[in-house]
Symmetry: C2
Subunit: 213 residues, 2 copies
DNA sequence: ATTTTAAGACCGACCGGTTGGTCTAAAACT
DNA sequence: AGTTTTAGACCAACCGGTCGGTCTTAAAAT
């Protein structure tokens, strides 16, 4: 006979997990993976280190729970933009707005992601690295699809879509960095709007050129 | 009276310093400041740790000797571009080419700089942080000057020169990151050339619009 | 309703390993 | 002989992760 005596579910599991994740986000995003300590995260969450290890089996697992969440969110956004109806420029416009909002909403996530990219990937377990690279690959592919459409529609110059998407990604990430380093001297929203207006300008002149010539 | 008597200059001292700096560059650029160890740097240079400390008084000092060199080089490049004769577009074109060459020549320096920007500045001594921020400020100012000229010449749209220069810097840095992460999937030279052609395109259409309207 | 039971939740001392920096003694040079 | 240079043992501080043990609480048993 199975002994179920005293068996119970963890009533506070979700709550605690959230508390720890929030604390971890704060500490990891401020210090990066290697400089962050599990004691500090536990303290920040208001618990002992042992308790933190009750919920996560390692520092790495906790870290990648956050990294995964960030990449998942970003990927979904880009894929949704790609699958939307409308012109490529409309898709890019919508995506730019959403990305900006995402960044402002989850600034610590941005910092986390940003610090992560400067870490040595070799120090992490291969399964996590693979998972991460898969997210990045899928995101880039979705973005490249939109850009390809834009080139076909003549709203972007007829250059290699892959390189165009790299440039676009580079521009956004480069502005993101400046905003993260000093938000008071660079307003990301304004930068994104300016970038968007350039895109539109390119689109217009491109179309005018193709219809006029 | 100046005491020069008996003050001997070790003929190999400079050589050793260079060896240590090169080793430090290799290790710091691969691991970042905090994960790099002095023992490893000493070993890489072919000396004992004690010897390394005979040449530099701290890890931080060694690190900033490299950081300083990198920023100095970049700043000089941008300032030289700004003080060149010719149109803003010519300056930017020259600068883009030089930057690309610099990056390819000193890839490890790029990595170092890139990792450095993800570090917590608070962990360094204020004097170093100040020095660093001064370099960045001067670089940005020089770049902004060129961009301002470009706007006045009508080869860039009439937007805030500061934001334009931030975007330009962001684009270059964003592409640099992608190239650092995986040079086989993103060729920086090609990316820079593409970016440059966009700049020229903007300049032409901008001028045509102003002369035609 | 009260007691019993055992899993859930929690803690912090502790361990093994690492690292920046020091110290000393010997080697090398002049 | 005296000075410069080198090496690596050594130290104190720190960190990820473990472990033994304690307290809490839901559910089973009465």
């Amino acid at each position: 006979m199975a002994k179920t005596l005293g068996m119970r579910k963890n009533p506070v599991k979700d709550e605690r997990e959230q508390a720890f994740k929030q604390a971890a986000l704060k500490v990891f995003s401020a210090k990066g993976y290697h400089r962050a300590t599990m004691s500090e995260i536990a303290l920040e969450a208001g618990f002992g280190k042992g308790t933190l290890y009750w919920y996560w089996k390692s520092k790495e697992e906790l870290y990648f729970a956050l990294i995964r969440q960030m990449h998942e969110e970003f990927l979904q956004l880009v894929e949704e933009a790609a699958s939307r109806p409308g012109s490529a420029l409309e898709k890019l416009g919508w995506m730019g707005g959403e990305i900006t909002e995402l960044y402002y909403r989850d600034r610590d996530f941005c910092k986390l992601s940003w610090k992560m990219r400067a870490e040595e990937l070799e120090t992490f377990s291969p399964q996590y690295v693979e998972e991460l690279q898969d997210y990045i690959k899928r995101t880039k592919r979705a973005l490249e699809g939109i850009v390809k459409q834009a080139v076909e529609e003549g709203s972007l110059p007829p250059a290699d879509p892959y390189y165009l998407s790299c440039m676009l990604l580079g521009l956004v990430e480069g502005m993101e960095i400046q905003w993260l380093e000093d938000p008071s001297s660079f307003d990301l929203r304004r930068g994104m709007e300016l970038a968007m207006s350039f895109l539109l300008f390119l689109g217009e002149t491109g179309k005018r050129a193709s219809t006029g010539g």
